[in-house]
């Protein structure tokens, strides 16, 4: 397996200083969680897509959220990132109540996400896509001046392209990339600008076995302070990168535990892993 780790340009001056900054910030806010959801619910008319979600993820923790289709996993992500405003409950990000914040304000606080279906700028090149993601969380978003060759953000974009093996495609329009390459690009964009917490929505979907191995290497190689939640149907990927697992069903959390506990749980097997006790959803 190729050793693949996040470029230092995306680590905000090194994990140690960021870790110290996060600890200080958490002490100041009196919380110990990077992401904390309390009683979060989301209704679409009469349909409760999410109900009473209580979720707390520590800084640097890697969590997998599993569940069958329609369990509410992506809706949960949408509420956290601000794509949807929750109908009920509160969302705190590193101690700060961001429940009503617009999406861009949450992103600027260090939250990132990838999408289940790639949301890329297909008319722009690979490098432009990554550059835009780097620029989005930097100052001078409104700059009317073109970046120079020595622009630090351009270097960051180049680093991220190398990380996901797209450096040969830097000027290729995204519309010309394969599906797997587009997924890789999604990940590179999520890693831009020194994120503090990332939400990966089925990042391995559509990837070849080799690309999946690279993905696992990227995720396990992330700096220790950079926590994430991953939604993934590929159990091999999910359970290899996660330290803890949250199981969802019908918009509710019904089980939390370590990967090995979840794997052995009969109820989980019945509902999700295709065991004898119930319908499988693989």
């Amino acid at each position: 397996m190729t050793t693949t780790s996040l470029p230092t340009s995306q680590q905000d001056g090194g994990a140690a200083s960021v870790g110290a900054d996060i600890s200080e910030r958490l002490r100041a806010t009196g919380t110990e969680h990077a992401l904390e959801l309390r009683g979060v619910g989301k209704s679409f008319g009469a349909l409760d897509a999410l109900s009473d979600i209580d979720l707390a993820v520590r800084p640097g923790e890697r969590r997998a959220v599993l569940g069958s289709n329609g369990a509410g996993k992506t809706t949960l992500f949408n509420c956290v990132t601000g794509d949807f405003l929750p109908t009920r409950g509160t969302i705190r990000f590193f101690g700060e109540d961001v429940t009503t914040f617009p999406a861009h304000e949450r992103i600027r606080r260090g939250l990132r996400r990838t999408y289940q279906i790639s949301l890329l700028f297909t008319n722009l090149s690979v490098r432009d896509n990554i550059y835009l993601s780097c620029r989005g969380v930097s100052r001078n978003r409104f700059s009317f001046l073109r970046p120079s060759r020595r622009d630090a953000l351009m270097s960051s974009a180049d680093d991220l392209m190398r990380l996901v093996h797209l450096d040969d495609e830097r000027d290729t329009p995204v519309s010309a990339l394969s599906y797997g390459q587009q997924r890789q690009l999604e990940i590179a964009m999520a890693l831009s600008g020194a994120p503090r917490f990332i939400l990966f929505d089925e990042p391995a979907a559509g990837l070849s076995p080799a690309e999946r191995r690279d993905l696992i290497a990227i995720l396990t190689g992330l700096p220790g302070h950079m926590g994430f939640i991953i939604i993934e149907h590929d159990m091999d990927v999910a359970l290899r990168v996660a330290q803890s697992v949250t199981m969802m069903h019908n918009g509710r959390i019904f089980k939390e535990g370590k990967p090995e506990e979840i794997e052995q749980d009969e109820e989980v097997q019945a509902l999700y892993l295709g065991g004898d006790g119930g319908p499988g959803h693989g």
Binding site: L124, R141, R146, P147
Partner: protein
């Protein structure tokens, strides 16, 4: 809508001077020496007007092509800048015009146009598609009727006449050759600035917002603020065009930014093509030729000269029908057709 981005990146090999199509240099040279063989009418009326309308349509191209926002208020921004030059500067209506010097009047006029566009943008970005068109059309209509009915500031139906460019460096800038070079200069500056910004962070972000606003928000961009800023920037270009237009006709009245001219700007931009900044200038040239000579052509054919708008409308329909991306789109399709691989075509697309 696909917009072809200008490429100035060093990876393509050679300097940008080498990568520019030689035809561009030829056209540039031709435009520079145009006064040697063109008469005053052609310089002042045909090319001067083309560059001015091209600039105002370019402001629409910037919004629609890069930002995905079709605004019908561009002529209103231009008209307001023209009015401000007349009100703050000198005109024949000395009871209203303040007679301030040009170096205060022109920046102030542009500032007012930009502020107005910011407010219009603030309202318009809450809508999308057909609703953006409708809200900007409503604003343009409101502006037309307001200026027509307000006599205290806008002098009502008559507007202002005798609005002339300053005699800077001792040059009469309304003389045919001077005005030609003045409009050419600002048209080229506007074109290059738009081209440059299309690859600057602001322009790239705008194109990202056009393609996927939700994703841009998820990258940390304030989508509404970017869209409003795009309106403000577009008004700067439209405002310069509006001031030049006022100087060209030496007057500004409600009809300058009436519903007809508002729609004409849309027609110009669409006929030329919204995918590249050069499109609006091509559209403006065709429009000016039709508007200037269609009457003569129709009369020579024994038809009523009043029907020249019909000719423009028919041309618009034809272009939109055959190429949604205007004349530029037709050109690109022809280029693609010319460069096609006949082997691939005969074998049904490949092995």
């Amino acid at each position: 809508m696909r917009v072809a981005e200008a490429e100035f990146e060093p990876a393509r090999g050679g300097t940008w001077i080498e990568r520019v199509n030689p035809a561009v240099y030829l056209i540039g040279l031709l435009l520079l020496i145009m006064p040697l063989f063109a008469n005053d009418f052609v310089l002042f009326q045909i090319f001067g007007w083309t560059f001015i309308l091209g600039m105002i349509a370019l402001s629409l191209m910037f919004l629609a092509g890069y930002g995905g926002m079709v605004s019908l208020a561009q002529m209103s921004f231009a008209g307001l800048a023209g009015y401000m030059v007349a009100i703050f500067g000198e005109s024949a209506i000395s009871t209203i015009s303040l007679g301030w010097p040009w170096f205060i009047t022109i920046p102030l006029a542009l500032l007012v146009a930009v502020l107005f566009a910011t407010i219009v943008g603030w309202l318009a970005v809450r809508t999308e598609g057909i609703y953006t068109i409708m809200i900007t059309l409503a604003i343009a209509s409101a502006m037309f009727y307001f200026t027509r009915q307000n006599y205290a500031i806008f002098n009502g139906f008559s507007g202002f006449n005798g609005v002339l460019p300053p005699k800077l460096f001792g040059v009469d800038w309304r003389g045919a050759m001077a005005f030609y070079y003045l409009t050419l200069f600002w048209a080229v500056v506007s074109y290059l600035v738009v081209l440059y910004i299309s690859r600057a962070p602001f322009g790239l972000a705008l194109q990202g917002i056009r393609d996927n606003p939700r994703r841009m928000a998820a990258l940390g961009y304030n989508v509404k603020a970017h869209r409003i800023a795009a309106y403000a920037f577009s008004a700067l270009i439209a405002g310069i065009g509006g001031i030049l237009l006022t100087w060209q006709s030496a007057q500004i009245s409600p009809g300058t930014a009436g519903i007809g001219p508002v729609i004409d700007i849309l027609i110009i931009a669409v006929i030329g093509g919204l995918s590249r900044p050069i499109g609006p200038f091509i559209g403006a040239f065709l429009y000016v030729l039709l508007k200037t000579f269609a009457i003569d052509v129709l009369i020579s054919m024994g038809l009523s000269g009043d029907r020249f708008q019909l000719l423009i409308g028919a041309g618009f329909l034809l272009v939109v029908f055959f190429s949604p991306d205007g004349l530029l789109g037709l050109w690109e399709r022809w280029q693609t057709y010319r460069k096609r691989d006949p082997l691939l075509e005969t074998s049904g697309g490949g092995l």
